[in-house]
């Protein structure tokens, strides 16, 4: 256990959450175990804070081709302006967090989560990094990281 988090269980829960979310939301096979990803400046980073029952943060790093594919799948051609379409990335992170919580804790547990947001810092921030998982999303890289953040509720 690291700060109350079962790391092995959290890894499995987060990996399954990403695979399921990618398949269900935009029909992409995410294969776990890919490389470390791109330099942070070339990625779009979004995060979501989970406050209860664990105080952690999920960070997701989208390569440009993957972000483009997500937006193209989730929005029809005549959708909103491009600036608003970035919202698709936040919604994907939101759904990953939901799957992660269900995978880790099961049904019937009370949760408190914040709203997803973009991270300009490229992934640095509060708390301690626990682990990072890499994925090959049909040729595009994707990373997701879990950070422990203490005493926020």
């Amino acid at each position: 256990l690291i700060q109350g988090i079962d790391e092995a269980k959290a890894r499995r829960a987060l990996e399954e959450a990403v695979v399921t979310t990618f398949a269900d939301m935009f029909f992409v096979d995410a294969m776990p175990g890919a490389g470390a990803g791109l330099p942070a400046a070339q990625e779009t980073c979004a995060s979501i804070d989970l406050l209860k029952p664990l105080s952690i943060q999920i960070q997701a790093f989208f390569s440009a081709p993957l972000k483009r594919r997500a937006i193209e799948t989730l929005f029809v051609a005549d959708g909103p302006p491009d600036s608003d379409k970035e919202d698709a990335v936040l919604e994907i992170v939101n759904v990953i967090a939901g799957h992660f919580l269900t995978n880790y804790f099961g049904q019937g547990v009370s949760f408190k989560i914040e709203l997803p947001q973009f991270l300009d810092s490229g992934g640095e921030g509060d708390g301690e990094p626990l682990f990072t998982l890499g994925f090959d999303a049909e040729g595009s890289s994707f990373r997701v990281a879990l950070r422990s953040v203490r005493y926020r509720y």
Binding site: G79, L90, V95, G98, Q107, V109, S110, F111
Partner: protein
């Protein structure tokens, strides 16, 4: 299955548009769509608009969350009979029980699909 006025409440533009698309793909006809980004705006919209025939609301939203919205909506007896369904990323048993006591008639877990939406709407009383 058709609805006259449908209100979709979600802070995510993606979710709002996906819900509309799912309703269409499920073969559900809707005459008028109304949208709100949070519970507070939704309450104002409900006050100013014709009676809603269906409300689909997220839980986790800024300004006013979906639970508070539902409680305030039901506090006005004119809205007691409006079918209201929660669409959310997390499935929280305690919240579900509480919301059912306020008249929530269905829950759809994100990510949504036409099949999920249709199944819940067909089960509405």
């Amino acid at each position: 299955m058709d609805f006259g006025n449908v209100l979709i409440i979600d802070d995510s533009l993606t979710s709002r548009l996906m819900l509309k698309e799912c309703l269409s793909m499920a073969g559900i006809g809707v005459l008028n769509y109304y949208y709100a980004e949070n519970g507070l705006d939704a309450l104002e919209l409900v006050r100013k608009s014709p009676r809603m025939d269906l409300i689909l609301t997220d839980i986790n939203m800024p300004k006013m969350d979906g639970i508070t919205f539902v409680k305030k909506l039901r506090a006005d007896e004119r809205n007691l009979g409006v079918p209201t369904v929660v669409v959310s990323t997390i499935s929280d048993g305690k919240e579900e029980l509480e919301l059912r006591s306020f008249g929530i008639m269905g829950f759809i877990k994100k990510p949504i699909s036409p099949e999920k939406v249709l199944a819940v709407l067909e089960a509405l009383p």
